[in-house]
C-alpha cells in the first residue's frame, strides 16, 4: 500500500548530517480538546521526558511538534497532513482513542510515515494492522484475559457494563469469554452510551440481576461516575472489576468511591516496583500526576528515536527494520517494572506485561507528592495473554 517515492516533500528519510548530531522532527498527536482533552498534556510530558533523556544519552537532537487531535479522527487527520506536508515531521506518535489511531495510523502508513499509537482496542490490530503502524498500549484482549481470570476468582456471577463504541464492544466480547473460560458466568450485559453521566438505569439492571459483581468496561471519567453512582444508590457490597483502568480518572473523586474498585487490569500504574525517579520527574512537570499515558508516551518516543538512531535513518522502512522483533532494554523497560517487552514482528504489537491492581483503602491513599491510589497485585507477562500471530489475522 505504499505510494511512489515522494517528490518534493523534502523530508523523507533524514539521515545523519555531516555535522554529527542526528536531527529528528517528531510529531506528537495528542487530544488537547474534545472528550479526551484531560489526557492531552500527559502525552506531551512523557514525550519530552524521553527526548531529554535521549538527547543526553545519544548524539541526537529532537524537535518536537505537538498537534491537537481534537479527539476526532477528521481533526487528527488534518493535523497529520499538516505535520507531514508543511512541517516535515519524520515520524509520529500519540493518539488515544482507537478511531483517531486508526485514522492517522492508516493514513501515515499509506504515506510512508512511521507511527506509534496508544489505542488499546483490538480493532486497531489484526486485519487493521499497517506496515508502518505500531501499538504501544497492551491490547484489550491482553487486559481482558488478565482480569477475566481474576474476576472468576472473586465471584461467579458478573454483570458487564460496556461503553457503546468500538473499544467497549471489543472489551465486552473478550471479557465475557475470559470470564466464562474461567468458569464464572456473565448474567447480563448493557451497552452504555459514551460519554454518559447518568448510570442509574444500568445500575438498576445490575441491582435486579443475580450478579455479585460488575465489570466496568467503561473508559475515562465515566468509569468513576458509574462507581460513585453505585455507591450513592447503595450498591456497596457488589464487587467491581474494571478493565484497562486508568487511575487518573478517579482523581477527581473522593477516596471512598475509588476505594470501591476491587480489581482492575491496568497498562501501567505508578506504584510498580522499579519505577525509579520517573514518578518524581513527571510530578515535577506539574500538569498531571504520573499515570499510564506518561509511561506510554515515554516509551513511544524512546523506541522510535532509538530505532532511527540505530538505523541512522528516519525512513519508515528503516525504522521498521529496527523495530520489528526488537527487545526493549532501555529505561522504558525499567519504568514498566523490568518485565520482558518486545515488538512482535508479525503485527507490530508491543508485547509487555499487564498489571493487576486493587484500590487502596481510602485511608491509605496517598496524595502527596503525587496520587498513589492503587496497588499492583499481580503482573502477567505479555506472552501469557497476547493473541498468537495466527489468531490476530494480521498479514504483515
Amino acid at each position: 500500500s505504499s505510494g511512489p517515492a515522494g517528490d518534493g516533500s523534502g523530508s523523507e528519510g533524514t539521515t545523519t548530517g555531516s555535522t554529527g548530531a542526528m536531527e529528528i522532527t517528531l510529531g506528537l498527536f495528542t487530544p488537547n480538546s474534545g472528550a479526551f482533552a484531560p489526557w492531552g498534556p500527559s502525552l506531551e510530558t512523557g514525550t519530552r521526558l524521553a527526548i531529554r533523556d535521549l538527547e543526553n544519552e545519544l548524539d541526537v537532537s529532537v524537535d518536537l511538534n505537538v498537534y491537537d487531535t481534537k479527539t476526532d479522527p477528521s481533526g487528527a487527520l488534518d493535523a497529520m497532513k499538516r505535520a507531514v506536508t508543511a512541517d516535515g515531521i519524520d515520524f509520529a506518535q500519540g493518539g488515544i482513542n482507537s478511531s483517531v489511531c486508526t485514522k492517522i495510523g492508516t493514513w501515515a502508513s499509506d504515506n510512508n510515515v512511521s507511527y506509534i499509537g496508544q489505542g488499546a482496542s483490538d480493532s486497531l490490530r489484526g486485519e487493521a494492522c499497517q506496515p508502518f503502524m505500531y501499538m504501544v498500549y497492551q491490547t484489550n484482549h491482553m487486559m481482558a484475559t488478565t482480569i477475566g481470570r481474576e474476576m472468576a476468582d472473586v465471584t461467579d456471577r458478573w454483570y458487564v457494563l460496556y461503553a457503546d463504541y468500538v473499544w467497549g464492544h471489543n472489551a465486552e466480547q473478550v471479557v465475557t469469554s475470559a470470564v466464562e473460560e474461567n468458569g464464572a458466568t456473565v448474567v447480563g450485559t448493557d451497552a452504555t452510551p459514551f460519554p454518559n453521566d447518568d448510570y442509574t438505569q444500568y445500575i438498576n439492571n445490575v441491582a435486579n440481576s443475580e450478579a455479585d459483581g460488575v465489570a466496568l468496561l467503561i473508559p475515562g471519567p465515566d468509569a468513576s461516575r458509574a462507581v460513585k453512582q453505585m455507591r450513592n444508590q447503595g450498591l456497596t457490597d457488589v464487587k467491581i472489576g474494571a478493565q484497562m483502568l486508568e487511575d487518573m480518572v478517579f482523581w477527581g473523586l473522593d477516596h471512598e468511591a475509588a476505594a470501591m474498585v476491587d480489581i482492575a487490569s491496568m497498562g501501567w500504574v505508578n506504584t510498580i516496583d522499579g519505577v525509579g525517579d520517573f514518578n518524581d520527574r513527571v510530578a515535577e512537570a506539574g500538569e498531571l500526576d504520573p499515570f499510564v499515558r506518561h509511561a506510554k508516551s515515554y516509551t513511544s518516543a524512546d523506541q522510535q528515536i532509538r530505532a532511527a538512531v540505530r538505523a541512522g535513518s528516519t525512513r519508515a522502512e528503516d525504522v521498521r527494520e529496527e523495530l520489528e522483533g526488537h527487545e526493549i532494554q532501555s529505561a522504558a523497560r525499567d519504568i514498566h517494572g523490568g518485565g520482558e517487552m518486545y515488538w512482535r514482528a508479525c503485527d507490530h504489537e508491543l508485547v509487555s506485561p499487564v498489571f493487576s491492581a486493587t484500590a487502596r483503602d481510602a485511608s491509605e491513599m496517598q496524595d502527596d507528592p503525587y496520587k498513589q491510589w492503587f496497588d499492583v497485585t499481580d503482573t502477567t507477562p505479555g506472552d501469557d495473554v497476547v493473541r498468537s500471530c495466527a489468531e490476530t489475522g494480521c498479514t504483515l
Binding site: N32, T106, A128
Partner: protein
C-alpha cells in the same frame, strides 16, 4: 435606490442580477487561486488543505440551497454528506464495487434518503423541521455506530482498503493516476468543484430555483398563488442532499476513508456556522464562510508565537501556545462579533458594505 443596484458576484440571493459570466468566472478564480493563496507563507503556508477547502465549499454551498434559497434550516446536513462518504468507503472496502460506480450510487442513495425524509417532514414548521432533521441525523449516526454486519466499522470508521487503486499517495501528496496520466488530486477536486457549483448555480437561477426563493420569502403567499410548496421543498432537500453527497464522495478519497464524525451533529453544526459566517444571502457566501472558518481554525491551531509587527522585525514576541490550547474561545468570540455586527449578511455582506462605503467616500471626495 436600493441595495440591488450594485452588480457582481456579491449579489444577494433574492434579487440577484448577475451577469451570465460572473459566477462561472468567479468559481474558476476560486479554484485557480485558492491553493496559491492558502499556501502562501503569510497564510497557512502549505498547500494540502486547499483540496479540503474546496470540498467543504461544495458541501456548505449545498446546505445553502436549503437555508439561503429555500429558507429551510437543517440540523442534520452532515448526514447526507456522510452517506456519500460511507457509501463509497463501504463499496470499496467490503463490496469490491469500483469507485466510479459507487460514487454515483452513493449520491443517488443520499438523494433517495433525503427524498423520503423530505416527504415526511418538509412541511413542518421551521424549528420543528430543524429538530426532525437532527433526529434523523442522530439515527444515522446510531446506525453507523452500531456497525451492522461490520459494514460501517463503528466508531473507528473505515480506513483500510478505502482508497481506489488509481489514487497514489505518499507523504501527503495525492495523485490521480489514469491511463498513464498523473494529475494532482487538487486539480481533480477543483474540476469537480467548478462543475458541481456551476450545476448548483444553474439550479438556483433556473425557474425552479427562483420559485424556491419565493417559497422562502413567503410560503403562504406562494401556496395561495399556485405553488406546490411542499414538493418544491422536498426537491430542494433532495438536491441539497445530492450535492452534499458529492462533497462526501470527494471527502472519502481526500481523507482516505470514512469516520463517524462525518455523520455527527457537530459537523452539521459546523456546516450551518460556515454558511452563516459567510453570508447565507449570497451565492458565494458559503464559500467565504468555509474559507474564513477553516482558515481561522487551521491558523489558530497551528499558531504558537505571535511576532509583532513582522517576523523580520520582531519588536514584540508573544508566546501563545498556552492560550491557544483554548483556541475555540477565540472562535466563539469571532462568532459573537460576526453575529452582532451583521447577523444576516455574514462576512461577505460585511465586506460588501465596507467596499460600498469606501467607494462612496472616494466618489464623494473626487466630486
Amino acid at each position: 435606490m436600493s441595495r440591488d443596484s450594485t452588480a457582481g458576484v456579491l449579489e444577494r440571493v433574492g434579487a440577484i442580477d448577475l451577469g451570465v459570466w460572473q459566477v462561472p468566472l468567479g468559481l474558476l478564480a476560486v479554484a485557480v487561486l485558492l491553493r496559491p493563496v492558502v499556501s502562501h507563507d503569510l497564510m497557512l503556508g502549505y498547500p494540502q488543505v486547499a483540496s479540503s477547502f474546496l470540498i467543504w465549499m461544495i458541501i456548505v454551498a449545498s446546505f445553502n440551497l436549503l437555508m439561503g434559497y429555500t429558507g429551510l434550516i437543517s440540523f442534520g446536513h452532515a448526514m447526507f454528506m456522510g452517506i456519500g462518504t460511507y457509501s463509497v468507503a463501504i463499496a470499496l472496502s467490503s463490496l469490491a464495487v469500483p469507485f466510479l460506480l459507487a460514487a454515483p450510487l452513493g449520491i443517488l442513495f443520499s438523494a433517495g434518503v433525503a427524498y423520503l425524509i423530505g416527504r415526511l417532514i418538509a412541511h413542518k414548521g421551521e424549528i420543528y423541521f430543524a429538530m426532525l432533521t437532527l433526529a434523523f441525523a442522530k439515527s444515522a449516526h446510531f446506525v453507523a455506530n452500531y456497525n451492522p454486519g461490520g459494514l460501517t466499522g463503528g466508531t473507528t470508521g473505515l480506513a483500510d482498503g478505502t482508497t481506489p487503486a488509481w489514487i497514489e499517495t505518499s507523504r501527503g501528496f495525492t495523485y490521480v493516476v489514469l491511463g498513464g496520466f498523473r494529475i494532482d488530486w487538487y486539480w481533480a477536486v477543483a474540476a469537480v468543484f467548478v462543475v458541481g457549483l456551476l450545476l448548483l448555480w444553474q439550479l438556483v437561477r433556473s425557474p425552479f430555483g427562483r420559485t424556491l426563493v419565493a417559497v422562502r420569502e413567503n410560503e403562504a403567499l406562494a401556496r395561495s398563488m399556485g405553488v406546490n410548496v411542499r414538493r418544491y421543498k422536498v426537491w430542494a432537500f433532495t438536491f441539497a442532499a445530492a450535492f452534499a453527497a458529492l462533497g462526501g464522495v470527494l471527502l472519502e478519497i481526500n481523507n482516505q476513508g470514512a469516520t463517524l464524525s462525518e455523520l455527527s451533529i457537530v459537523t452539521s453544526g459546523n456546516i450551518i456556522i460556515m454558511a452563516v459566517l459567510g453570508g447565507a444571502n449570497y451565492f458565494f457566501g458559503p464559500l467565504a464562510g468555509v474559507f474564513v472558518w477553516m482558515f481561522v481554525e487551521e491558523y489558530l491551531t497551528d499558531f504558537h508565537t505571535l511576532v509583532l509587527p513582522l517576523t523580520e522585525v520582531p519588536l514584540l514576541r508573544i508566546e501563545l501556545t498556552g492560550v491557544l490550547a483554548y483556541w475555540q474561545f477565540f472562535l466563539g468570540l469571532l462568532f459573537v462579533v460576526a453575529v452582532l455586527v451583521s447577523p444576516r449578511e455574514g462576512v461577505l455582506g460585511l465586506a460588501k458594505a465596507t467596499v460600498a462605503r469606501l467607494s462612496a467616500r472616494i466618489r464623494g471626495e473626487s466630486e
